[in-house]
Amino acid sequence: MSEDYRSMWADLGLDLEAHDALLGVLGKAYQDIYLSQKDRPDGMGYFDFVMSEVHGLRIRELLDEKEAGRKIIGSYCVFVPEEIVLAANATLVGLCSGADFAMDEVEKLLPRNTCALIKSLFGFKLGKVCPYLESTDMIVGENTCDGKKKAYESLNHLVKNLYIMDLPQVKSEQGRTLLKSEYDRFKTAVEELTGVSITAESLKQAIQMVNAKRSAIHRLSSLRKADPAPISGLDALLANQVFFYDNPARFTESVNKICDALENRIAEKKGVFPEKTPRILVSGCPQAVPNWKLPFIVETSGAVIVGEESCVGERGTRNLTDESCRTVEEMMEAIVDRYYQVDCAIFTPNPERLKHIQEMVATYKANGVIHYSLQFCQPYLMESISVEKALEEKNIPTLRIETDYSMEDVGQLKTRIEAFIEQIQ
């Protein structure tokens, strides 16, 4: 890594020694999990490059943007509307939350029995190893699950720029009204932060840009219907992860390039796994970088993942925002309509999610569903029981997994996943 980055990281206040250790682990994991895959499609080099520079070049770009007067806004949730951020000439980035770090420090502030994702976001702050977090001008916390909303109360003591967005938990007229007023309040806050007034033109452009990014992912997803699968679930998950980090225009272009390559592969009947490899849909909690444990086990046990019903996946990208509106007010309504369809398990009741899982099983011709929950994540753990029951009533084999970011359960997970694959074969 160049010296340039080291001084950049030092300026951001990172703990260089700890950060070196993190990059060492990340690099090794990426090597073992990603680069060891065979027959990866052309164009994946883009993601390899993005990942190799995830704390380097991308941070440099963000700092250059800041230098040029743009603001950086960080988020932990798909409910933070990127359209509003882009329209105010700012950049939205997803913040680190996919690995255990500085857990001894974290457990001074959070109960041990808190989900890995929340503990992780604290770990990256306390361990001073997330350059994204340290680059932000505003961090958006959102009142989703009880764990997150209470944890933000503590995070507020650790950072100076936390903005809290409230979210409805019931899809009702009042719920939609709350979301609308929160998005209006967020728009004002972003305008104040950036000093830029959002106009009909800038908002329209932003909507188009984010829609283009989502459409590229839709195209990628749709190519995963093919058998043999033209891309591994690991690589497709990576695309869904990089969605949160990269420059939107470059991301869209690069994903579309990969899709061109995949179309050629499909025409040649060429896949990353043999034809008739058991196909699995993963459903449940988000999998942030570098949480690759589950897909790695699945895809080294004789199955391929063909879809992610997840916030880092189809739940987060499924819907587009209506592009036909003219005024800022109409567009804000369209944005609310778009995000209001996200079927996160924090909503009660949440029947849409089950419908979407079943649709995805049919669309991607999945042979079974692995329901992935993080330990202590009540909303998804609770839904996992009713989801499993409903799917099995429709003869869709389902395996419920409850895990965290540690490696201590890999042996048992591997046995359960292999047995599940034997079951659906």
Binding site: G411, Q412, T415, E422, Q423
Partner: protein, 250 residues
């Protein structure tokens, strides 16, 4: 032709060889120890067979050194059970560090299974450590527990917590047998809830090392009110299943 199955468990390793007709011609067992690869190699050394299949938590270790195909314990136990009890629909396997409840379709295919996540609570390891805490040989542990005059409640399932609980019960002057019985009851509660989650009725075939424990067998059948069948050598079922699967794939 001869077909071998090797089950490399956390506690013991079993090797079974079957002939063309699926009859057992050889069965061997050894402790896993701290070097399962060498123990497995020693066990196989000098045994003749045409094909071998590996199962158990150490299956991948064996896959590398012997280039043997592997199968999960779940599939292996089901195959082994079906050879002995062809109509079986529910299988309970409690081994050294894992426990599994498996329910089958009428055709013998796996319909659903449950398995412990990461903790070895309620498995052979738990019983072994508790026997040691109470100063019983593992073979005598179940027999002694059966002789207890009454049951007592042990609330901890975590091995370390249960050890503290046992220590405090000993300090209170309670009988070793009663404490042993309480520990067996706590294992049963866990196994029964696992079984009940996947299957609500019918006979159960019980395999794995813990099935040799008389107290567990008796308490489990009382608790579930269902018939429990135990193969003659319940620990060998995984290896037998693997051998039969090697034969099936010939």
């Amino acid at each position: 032709m001869c077909f071998a199955g090797i089950d490399i468990g956390s506690r013991t390793i079993e090797l079974v060889v079957v002939d063309d007709a699926g009859e057992i011609v050889l069965s061997l067992q050894t402790d896993t120890g701290f070097d399962p690869k060498s123990e497995a190699d020693n066990l196989v050394n000098g045994v003749s067979f045409d094909r071998i299949m590996a199962t158990g938590y150490g299956r991948n270790l064996f896959e590398i050194s012997f280039d043997a195909p592997t199968v999960t314990e779940i599939k292996a136990h089901v195959r082994g059970v079906l050879a002995i009890f062809p109509g079986a629909r529910t299988v309970l396997d409690i081994g050294g560090q894992d426990s599994k409840a498996i329910v089958l379709y009428e055709n013998g295919k796996v319909k659903k299974f449950e398995m412990n996540d990461r903790c070895a609570a309620g498995t052979g390891k738990f019983l072994e450590i508790m026997a040691k805490t109470l100063g019983f040989e593992i073979e005598a542990f179940g027999r002694e527990a059966l002789m207890a005059k009454k049951d007592l409640n042990i609330s901890s399932m975590c091995t370390v917590f249960a050890e503290s609980e046992v220590t405090s019960l000993i300090a209170k002057g309670l009988s070793r047998r009663e404490i042993a019985r309480g520990l067996h009851t706590s294992v049963i509660r866990r196994a029964a809830s696992m079984i009940n989650r996947v299957s609500s009725e019918g006979d159960i075939v019980f395999t794995g090392g813990v099935a040799k424990n008389q107290c567990i067998r008796k308490l489990l059948s009382e608790k579930l009110g269902r018939e429990i069948h135990i193969p003659d050598d319940p620990q060998m079922i995984g290896a037998l299943g693997a051998a039969l699967l090697a034969a099936d794939n010939r």
